[in-house]
Amino acid sequence: MENKLIEVKDLKKTYTSKKKSEGFLAGVKSLIKTDYFNIEALKGISFDVFEGETLALIGPNGAGKSTTIKILTGILYPTEGEAKVIGLVPWNDRVKLSYSIGVVFGQRSQLWFHLPPMDSFNLFSKIYELDGKEYKKRVEELIDIFEIREYISVPVRKLSLGERMRCEIVLSLLHKPRILFLDEPTIGLDVVVKSRVRDLIKRINREEHVTVFLTSHDTLDIEAISKRVIVINDGRIIFEGDLNTIKHGYMKKKIVDLKFNEITGDFNIKGVNILKKKDYGVKLEVDLTQISQDDAISEIIKQGEILDITIEDPSLEEVIKAIYNEEN
C-alpha cells in the first residue's frame, strides 16, 4: 500500500461552553455561579489518508469538519484519541509540521490586506526559511500556473474574492508542502471562478503529487476534486469510501426526463413518481427498490409517443441527503 500521510484513531473533541440563561435573575445568578455545558464536536473518528490522494470531508454545518482540520493542522488539542500527520503529532509538533503542510481557510485571509500579494509572498519565503534562488523560481512557477501576474502588485484590498483566493493558495504552496489542507476553499466564489479554483487544485495534486485534504459543503467541489469521500455528521463518520461506490451504493433512484409528441397514459406505474409535468415534458423519479430500470422504461414508453428520453443519476447532493436520512 502507498505511504500513509495521515493516521487518525478514535479522535474526540469536546468543547466546554458557558451556559447563559435568559432573563435578569439568571444574569445575576451567573455572577455567582457559572454553569457549563459540553458540546461533543467529534465523537471518535478514525481514518487514514495516503500520499498523493485527494480526500474530501463532507458534512453539514457543525458536523465536525473544521474541528478535524484544525486538530490535524495542530491548531486544536483533541480531548481524546490519536493522530499523526507525516509522522508527527500535530498538536505537539505544530511548528515543525507547519513546514510540510499548506493550509487555506476559505473564510479567512493570510495575505496582508493593505499590501500587494507579492509582499506577503516575500515575507512568507522568509518565514518558511526558503532559499532565495529556489524561492524566486518557485514563486514564478506558481504565478504562471495560477495566472496571477497582473494582481501581484495590487494591494490585496483591491482584489476580488476569486483573485484573492488564487493568491491565498499560491501563498500556501510556496514551501512545497506535502499536504494541502483546504477548508471550504470555494466559499463565496461565483460558478466560473469556482471551477477555475477546482481545476487548479486538481492540477497541483496531479503535477506535484500534493496530497489534498478538503472540506466543503459544496458537493460539486467534491465531485470535481476528490476521489475518496468521508461523510461526517454529528461528530461521527457515517460513510467512507470511493466517490463511485458512494454513488452506486446509495443510488436507489434514477431521474428520467421525457419529451412526448403525444401523451396517452397517466403514469400510474408502481415505483414511479412524477416530479414535474408541463405540456409535453415530464420528469419522473424511478425507485429502483420497487421496480427495475428496464421494467420502468418499458412501462413509461407505453404512456405516449416519445420524442426524447434521458436517464440521469441523482446528484451527489441528493445521495448525501439520502445518507443523512438513513443515519437519522
Binding site: 486544536l76 503542510i101 496582508w112 499590501l115 509582499d119
Partner: protein, 271 residues
C-alpha cells in the same frame, strides 16, 4: 556553523515581519496626517499648561526648567502616540477565529505580533518625533538636548515601544480567558499616564510613587527614554537599558506561558 545559519534564519523572519509591518503602516497616509494634527494640538495644550504652571514659580521644579519640561513632554507624547495598537487586532483575531491562520505557520504567534506591532510603532515614531521636537523648538527657541541624549532617547524609545507591544500582547491574549480585555488595557493605559510619567516627570511625584514605579514597566516606556533625552548621563542610560531588558524578558516569559496554556484551551469560532 549550521546552527548559526538556523538562528540567522529565525531572526531574519522576525526582521522581515517588522519590515512588512513598517511598509503596511506607511500605507495609511490619511490617518497619519490626522494623528499628526492630534499630536500638535495635544502638545500645544500641554506646553501652555506648563507655561502657566511655571509662571507661578521662578526657577525650576526638581531640576526641570520650563524649557526642559517642554522637551520632556514632546518626547513622552511622541512615544505615547506611537504605542502599540495590536490589542484590537488580537481581540478581533481571537473572536473571529482568524488566529487559526497564524497558528499554522512556523513562528511564535506572540513574537509575530510583537514584531508586527513594533514595525508600525517605529514608523509612527519616526514621523511623530521630528514633528514633536520641531514644535518644542519653536516654543522654546532652544535645543535642550544633546546628540548623545537624542541617540539614547531613540534607542530606549524603540526598546520601550517593544516592551509596550509585549505588555499589550499579554493583555490581548487574555482574550482567550475573559470576554473583554478593554478594562485591563484601560488600567495599563492609565498607568502609563501616571507612573509612566506621560504628563508629569516621576521626579515630581512623592517618594513612594517613585519607588512603586520601579516595579512596573510603564516608566521605562515613557519616563526613562524622555529623561535620558534631556538629562543624559551614561549611568542613567545604562540603568534604563538594563531595566528595559529585564522587564522585556519577564513580560516575554509571561506572554509565552500564557500563550502556551491558552492554546491548549483554544476553541475556535466558525465551524
Amino acid at each position: 556553523m549550521r546552527k548559526t545559519k538556523r538562528i540567522t534564519l529565525k531572526i531574519a523572519k522576525y526582521v522581515e515581519i517588522l519590515k512588512v509591518s513598517f511598509m503596511a503602516a506607511s500605507a495609511y497616509s490619511k490617518e497619519l496626517y490626522g494623528t499628526l494634527g492630534f499630536l500638535i494640538i495635544t502638545l500645544f495644550i500641554l506646553f501652555f499648561l506648563w507655561k502657566t504652571i511655571f509662571s507661578f514659580e521662578t526657577g525650576d521644579f526638581e531640576g526641570f526648567t520650563l524649557q526642559k519640561m517642554i522637551w520632556y513632554v514632546a518626547a513622552t507624547e511622541a512615544i505615547m502616540l506611537s504605542s502599540s495598537r495590536i490589542r484590537l487586532r488580537i481581540d478581533e483575531e481571537i473572536r473571529s477565529g482568524n488566529v487559526s491562520n497564524f497558528l499554522v505557520k512556523p513562528f511564535s504567534y506572540p513574537l509575530f505580533l510583537a514584531f508586527d506591532s513594533l514595525g508600525s510603532s517605529i514608523f509612527r515614531f519616526i514621523v511623530r518625533m521630528p514633528v514633536a521636537f520641531a514644535l518644542a523648538l519653536i516654543f522654546t527657541l532652544k535645543f535642550e538636548i544633546s546628540l548623545l541624549g537624542l541617540m539614547s532617547y531613540i534607542i530606549l524609545g524603540i526598546m520601550g515601544l517593544f516592551l509596550d507591544a509585549l505588555v499589550t500582547i499579554l493583555i490581548g491574549l487574555l482574550a482567550f480567558y475573559v470576554e473583554d480585555t478593554a478594562p485591563i488595557y484601560w488600567i495599563y493605559n492609565k498607568l502609563l499616564f501616571t507612573i509612566g510619567g506621560l504628563l508629569i516627570p516621576i521626579d515630581m511625584m512623592p517618594a513612594f510613587v517613585k519607588t512603586i514605579s520601579k516595579f512596573f514597566p510603564a516608566r521605562f516606556i515613557l519616563y526613562n527614554p524622555a529623561n535620558s533625552l534631556i538629562n543624559f548621563s551614561w549611568e542613567f542610560f545604562m540603568e534604563s537599558f538594563s531595566y528595559i531588558v529585564l522587564f522585556t524578558a519577564i513580560v516575554l516569559l509571561l506572554t509565552s506561558l500564557l500563550f502556551s496554556s491558552a492554546s491548549r484551551r483554544l476553541s475556535i469560532n466558525g465551524g
